[in-house]
Subunit: 347 residues, 4 copies
Amino acid sequence: MSTFGESHGAALGGVIDGCTPGIEMPYEAIAAQLARRRPGQSAISTQRNEGDSAEWLSGIFEGKTTGAPIAFIVRNTNQQSADYEALKNVYRPSHADFTYEQKYGIRDYRGSGRASARETVARVVAGTLAEAILKREGIEMCAWVSAVAQHELPFANQQFTRSDVDANVVRCPDAELAVKMMAEIEQARAEGDSLGGIITCRIDGVPAGLGEPVFDKLHADLGKAMLSINAVKGFSIGSGFEASRMKGSQHNDSFVQKEGKIATATNHSGGIQGGISNGEPIWFRVAFKPVASIAHVQETVNQRGEATELSVQGRHDPCVVPRAVPIVESMTALVLLDHLMRQRAIK
Amino acid sequence: MSTFGESHGAALGGVIDGCTPGIEMPYEAIAAQLARRRPGQSAISTQRNEGDSAEWLSGIFEGKTTGAPIAFIVRNTNQQSADYEALKNVYRPSHADFTYEQKYGIRDYRGSGRASARETVARVVAGTLAEAILKREGIEMCAWVSAVAQHELPFANQQFTRSDVDANVVRCPDAELAVKMMAEIEQARAEGDSLGGIITCRIDGVPAGLGEPVFDKLHADLGKAMLSINAVKGFSIGSGFEASRMKGSQHNDSFVQKEGKIATATNHSGGIQGGISNGEPIWFRVAFKPVASIAHVQETVNQRGEATELSVQGRHDPCVVPRAVPIVESMTALVLLDHLMRQRAIK
Amino acid sequence: MSTFGESHGAALGGVIDGCTPGIEMPYEAIAAQLARRRPGQSAISTQRNEGDSAEWLSGIFEGKTTGAPIAFIVRNTNQQSADYEALKNVYRPSHADFTYEQKYGIRDYRGSGRASARETVARVVAGTLAEAILKREGIEMCAWVSAVAQHELPFANQQFTRSDVDANVVRCPDAELAVKMMAEIEQARAEGDSLGGIITCRIDGVPAGLGEPVFDKLHADLGKAMLSINAVKGFSIGSGFEASRMKGSQHNDSFVQKEGKIATATNHSGGIQGGISNGEPIWFRVAFKPVASIAHVQETVNQRGEATELSVQGRHDPCVVPRAVPIVESMTALVLLDHLMRQRAIK
Amino acid sequence: MSTFGESHGAALGGVIDGCTPGIEMPYEAIAAQLARRRPGQSAISTQRNEGDSAEWLSGIFEGKTTGAPIAFIVRNTNQQSADYEALKNVYRPSHADFTYEQKYGIRDYRGSGRASARETVARVVAGTLAEAILKREGIEMCAWVSAVAQHELPFANQQFTRSDVDANVVRCPDAELAVKMMAEIEQARAEGDSLGGIITCRIDGVPAGLGEPVFDKLHADLGKAMLSINAVKGFSIGSGFEASRMKGSQHNDSFVQKEGKIATATNHSGGIQGGISNGEPIWFRVAFKPVASIAHVQETVNQRGEATELSVQGRHDPCVVPRAVPIVESMTALVLLDHLMRQRAIK
């Protein structure tokens, strides 16, 4: 999968190469996931209306994939580049303005250009197609918001559905916690500030044997995929950072027999051992920083290095984490499908 | 870089392709880093004597790299395969025995085969060569043990040298904490148990502009590299999981002018913004689980799924984290050199 | 570079990733090369009017490349899918109908789908951009038709310009031969038949040192690129197949000094030795088969394996070789730029 | 597959990654193919005794592949580096001496370093393993010398076995032609000169559907693989360069029904249409230049650009083509296995 496009260019999109042929295009699922990613879906998300509807250019015939590259674009319709003219010579703190300019010697200062979270639209489109293929193999995934600021829902082998998750706008399937999170987000918005959070993802039905043993360990590829999402600062598989405080005798997952199959009694491994899936549910956590665009007045410098002040106007989420849920699911699907295909190739 | 070899096969090794020609081979630095990785270096590490000395097969002429692939092997001399005969039909908990067998339908049960941490010898050899090339560009890195069990040294922009780090066998540059960590490790050993921990790595001198903006973000590639190391369960860049509890106004790194250059006042970003280095020190954390091989009696099943008990004898570290320090440094060097070369290519 | 799109789908296009930033977009050169590739440019080429004008979607800001992926699409406007309804269940001889169906189990029977030469539009767009970057380094390339049927212009170190080549519609810079070729093509058209031919390409200004020594030899990558063009059946570098009839003493290119530089007296090597450019002009030949779509009545089978007759109507060139000249140049530019970037990376 | 090693370094070898697990190692077949590649096997080949026996380092357990990387080395035992001291500052015509030095700024002048045909030992080892896997799928290949100098055996759908091919030392299965070729080679040797030739390869049993439709066409990858072999100057699939002189009505391969299957009446396509195998035998030709090392006195320059004379002593074949037969077969096997695995991945 490759993606292209800037937030304020003509369009963004992607090309999916090497897709299994003969797959019924999951147009509805794609629309549903795009709707979950879209800004403006609730009071707590930004009011931009991006109207993300994909235009399919190739690789599909009579509603099915043909095996040829599938290209799609999403037009950028609601661009307000003028919003950004003021930012032309100023580096927004913790944005990619400065680093892009250092890397390329040139910067598209409209919106965040290529660094915009708009790019993730293409990931959701491709990932939802991947998910449809995985479903045929019995692999299903569900992600949810497990923390906003200090409010955290620990993982205890819960299995949620997307309706559980979407029961509230903050996408935390614990109703009480969700109320607290929403209040916290509302307060941040009122203060012109932003909040971070954590997403937990669980995947069921992954057969044992996916993942490569050394560099391309399954959780290493999942980690890379998650860390490639905007605003992500950390990734952990299974027990994660807590493992660093545990003893081997506590952490080891004993093998047992369950319903005639070899299984593990606990799942600190997160469903992956030695880089390869063991047939247990895979689960991992992804940490998001608070979004960098805030109304708060901040100190920064301009291109000449002179100190200046900045207050980012425009329409920005105080907490992007709920909208990132379908992105996490989509990137998960892309990684799993890739490893499923690799495993088929050697058999 | 590609690696090969099992812990109890004839040899393991690696091939480094695309290396800059004309580099003086850093034989001493490689020996030094291998010595830091080696088991048996101190009372707290395993007493196997692996005598890791690399044999160079190609790509070097008159002490310099020629640009041709550099191949090296390290013979496995101290193999006690007999130790493992008893494990032939039993799955050790939280090892890769079960998953390898599921993936390949065949398993080399001597030692951990390909899943053995012996494989990281090749990474240290290649990484130290990469480090030598990076040093010519003014890029230097240093990792240290920042946590063992509950004892943790928070990151506060400290800059350590390798002598600071090697001042004690636990490789924690805080002398007081190191004493506590060592006591904890000794106790775990006495109990036939094992401990996890955290390594923090800091890199100085990275020019702004390294890293790709979307899928191959610099921290995504660093994360994948770290998660590919045996026993790693989590990775975080800069503020990491703590970012999920911060507000945007706290977390954003203001741009300021320092000594005539644009810099940031704080460094929650960990030296990377939008996936691209910003010229500040890069820092990240890597969480290790407690090693799975413990003398404790554990419950498991054999290949027929029958319950059995297991106590892993053999010579194993109660805490591998100190020995993982040069591995973290080596993987860091490989990722950075790769991105340095990518950046040169587009200029 | 990746491409997508079928001849009769919504659009075709490509994505160019990793492009040098700050390059002035060569819009005119792209239009010029597309015009040379376009059907309907002369009496001897097909009368379809594809109106290939690229729509640029991303990666360009204020007329310059930004370093972000450059996506472009070309709409398919002049589709006559009805032409193809009759071919739905029949395999056209020496087309890809049968093989696509075998590979994917599904076939887009409109036009030739993904196998259509329309796909090369994307190659010409990307290749011309690559050419613009190469020109800044003093690298220039020119291809011409050196054979149609039995009429052949041997290579004798001639250096032609594109105006020389475009002096006649057959794109053979030898005026007399061109007249014979045109007559041959006219006759084939009259007979409802088609002709093959050869294109020779010469590249000047390539610095010594491009190309990898083993698998990715410069001429191996050029060969792969040429063989990936529709209808190509052979590739040879320098002396090519004639080398098989020569003696070493004839074939070896003596080194000599020319104008203070080390050069070769002859150039049977075609500018590449041991897979690496030696600073001499690079030259190679590409053999094209006669186009498979002919009006002649042919025998074939349908999907049920029943014998049937077929006469491909529609608008097809009796000889595609003249239109393939800019495609050869474009693929050459992509390969050279790739190797130029690889060489920069190791320095 | 990656390879490493110079002709006069410690060893050369390769690493095969991603090999199907559970394959019985074809040790005998590998030894047999190495013997066919080895110098000194007959009066017409060089008298060096390379004693190529592979040492296996990893990826094999109890005689079977485990799925882990398979590394092997072949020691260089019969090195006479002193032979080459005289060549230290001189560029041998049509060798890679000059280009390596231009590329890397450093040159291993012993033998031809990395450019030596010794590197192909690793290809033969890996390729013969690939061949063993392909055989299980019913895919078999056989290459032969179809031309030496002006003596040529045209392809007319002949199917030969390796015993047919090895019936004479020149590996041309036409006995009469073989005699002429041998006489020609003997004469070249007597004159201190060398000869080129052509190898034809035929593959049977390839299922329809292998190969990618655009850049990675099956014949494009075969072409690249062949062009990456030392001394190869040209590649053609099926009708090849002759196609450029044919008419569409002659060249098109009509579909017919044969024994209940869809087949083609002729096979100008060489078993590949639109880049994808069609189930017919695949056949292609590879042109080799006369070997560059000749005893003839030649003019050249030294590193300072001064004219000098050179007569390459040492032990070199007057015609390497017979020894290249197993190399062509091995590279063919590697490409086909790669595409077989790609095809499995999408199913």
